[in-house]
Amino acid sequence: MELTVDERWDLIDKISKQTITFGRYSHTLKDAIAEITVKPLTGIPIAIAVMYGFWSFFGAFAGFFTDGFFVKIFDEHWLPWLQKVFPGEGGFLYYILVGDPTADNCFEAFGMLTSGLFVAIGVVLPAIIAFYLFLIIMEDSGYLPRLAVLIDTILHKIGLHGFAIVPIVLSLGCNVPAVTATRTLETKKQRFMMATLLAIFIPCGAQLGMMIEIIPGYVGFVMLYLLIGFFVTGFVLNKIIPGRSPEILMDVPPYRMPTVRNIGRKMWMRVKGFLFVAIPFVMLGVLLVNVLYWWGVIDWLADILEPVLSAWFGVPKETVGPLLAAFLRKDLAIAQLSAIEMTTYQLITSVVLINLYFPCVATFAMILKEGKEGGCKSAPIFLLGSLATLVATVFLFGGLLHLIWIILGVA
C-alpha cells in the first residue's frame, strides 16, 4: 500500500507529536556567527574579506615555496647539473629530456626532466596544496552554502542560482570535479551553461599558480577580464538557450569545526591525484611538444596560423606551441609562453587565450561523459553547443583584448 503526500505528512505529524519534545534553547555564539555571515549587510563585506584572504594566502603560500625554495633548487643546482652530466648534447634524447643546453632557468630549457618537473613539483604542487587547504576548510566549516545564498541574486541574472557557486569554486581547483558537480543543478539548460562557462572561463589551480609565477602583476586583471566574460557569455547563453531556470530552496547547514583528520584525508586524496594523474600528463605534454618541434610540425603550423594569430589576436606566431600543449595541460602551456619573446601585453593576451581556448583533455572527456548521460540524443548537441560557444568566445574576447591594447596604444 502507498500513501498520498498528504496522508504521509499526517502520519509524520502524528508520529513526531508522540516522539519529539523540544527543550529551552538559547542563542549561542555559533548561531550569531551563522547569522552575520548570511545577512547581506554584514555577509557581503565578510565574503569579500574571505575571498581576499583566500587570494593573499594562495599567493603568499605558493610564492614562499616556489620562489623561495624550488626556483633556487631547480635553476641553480638541478638544471646546471643535468646540462653538465647528461650525454649527447644536441641529440634527440637530450632535446626531449633536458631541452635547451644554453638555458639558464627551468622555464626556458623545456625538457621533460627540467621544465616538466619544475612546473609540476616546483610551481603547481605548492599552488594546489595552498588552494585545497583553503577550499577544504570552506567546505567542511559550512561556509560554502552561505556564499551561495549571498551570490544568489547575481547568478539569477544569468539563469543560474546561488548553488552554482559550488561548481565555480570547485572549478578554481580543477575543472574536472566541477563539471561533475553540475549534477546538482535542476535543468539540462543550467547544467549545459554551467559546464560550458566553467570550462571556458574559470582557470584551475594549476593555471592560477602558473599565472602568479609568470605575470604576477596582472593576474588580477586577467581574472577580472575572465569574470566579465563569464557573466556576459552567461547572460547571452541564458537568452538564447531554451529551457527553464527554476528557483530553488537551499539548505544552509550549521557551522562545524573542520577536523584535522578529514582535512588531512581530503588533502592527501587531492595530492595523490595530482602526483599520479597530473604529473604524467605534464611529462607527456613536454614530450609531445618537443617531438613536434623536433619534426618541425610546430614551426609549420605557426607559419600557417600566423595571419590569425598576429592580425586578430596580436600575439607572436610562436604561441602555437603553447596552444597545442594547452590541450594536455594548461599550466604547462603558460610555462612555455614565458620562453617566447613578446611584450607584456602580448603575454597577457596569450595567457587569456590559453584560458579560453579548448578545455584540457581531462575536462573535455568529463564534459563528453556528462553530456552523454543526459540521454544519447543530447550528447552531440551538448558537445557541439559547447564547442560553438567556445570558438565564439575565443575570437570575441581574444580579439577584444587586442582591441583594448590598440586603443591604449600598447599593442
Binding site: 502524528k14 519529539i20 523540544f22 547547514p253
Partner: protein, 174 residues
C-alpha cells in the same frame, strides 16, 4: 545482500559510509557533495557485504541528476536493506523519505545522525517509541566521531519489511 545508504543531502551518509567500509569518499559540510554512487564492503557477522553510498535525495521523485542517480540505485537493488540516514535535528523531514522507502517494501534501519547537535539544541527524541511505532530499528549516531556505528551495524540484520497499514494503526491515525 546489499546495503544502501539513503537520506537527504548533507545528513552524513558519506561519513557513515566511510565509517562502515573504511573507504575514503569525500565528506564535506554542504548539500550535494556526493553526486554519484560509491561502492564498498563491510564485514557483517563474518560475511563481506556490499555497501553503496547513494547521493542525497529529498524524496523518491527526483528533482536533479544526482537525485535521479539515487532513485535509480534504489530501484536497481530490489533485494537490499536500506540504512536511512536522518538528520536528528530535522526528524520530520527525514521521516518522509523513510516512509516512502518503507512503503516500497524495503527492509529499513534508521540512523538518527548528528545526534550530538540535536542534544545541543535540546531536542529530545524518544527512540524506543519511534522504533515501536515504525516497527524498524532506530539507532542514534554521531558518525563524525563514530558513536552509535557499532550498534547500527548490529541492528542491520533485524531490518524487515513493514506493512504501512500497521504503522498507521500504531501511530493512532486509524
Amino acid at each position: 545482500m546489499k546495503i544502501l545508504l539513503m537520506g537527504h543531502p548533507n545528513v552524513g551518509k558519506s561519513v557513515v559510509f566511510n565509517r562502515l567500509t573504511g573507504a575514503n569518499v569525500t565528506e564535506s559540510n554542504y548539500p550535494g557533495t556526493t553526486v554519484d554512487y560509491s561502492k564498498g564492503y563491510m564485514r557483517l557477522e563474518g560475511e563481506d557485504v556490499e555497501v553503496i553510498d547513494v547521493p542525497g535525495t529529498f524524496s523518491l521523485e527526483p528533482k536533479d541528476k544526482a537525485e535521479e542517480v539515487a532513485v535509480k540505485m534504489l530501484e536497481k537493488n530490489k533485494k537490499s536493506a536500506i540504512i536511512c540516514v536522518i538528520d536528528s535535528v530535522k526528524l520530520e523531514r527525514g521521516l518522509y523519505l523513510a516512509l516512502e522507502i518503507i512503503e516500497e517494501g524495503y527492509p529499513v534501519v534508521i540512523a538518527l545522525n548528528m545526534w550530538d547537535i540535536a542534544q545541543d539544541k535540546k531536542i529530545r527524541i524518544d527512540i524506543d517509541k519511534l522504533s515501536s511505532i515504525l516497527g524498524v530499528p532506530v539507532v542514534p549516531t554521531t558518525a563524525i566521531s563514530g558513536e552509535g556505528i557499532k550498534e547500527l551495524v548490529s541492528t542491520i540484520r533485524k531490518a524487515a519489511p513493514v506493512e504501512i497499514g500497521r504503522i498507521l494503526k500504531r501511530s493512532g491515525v486509524v
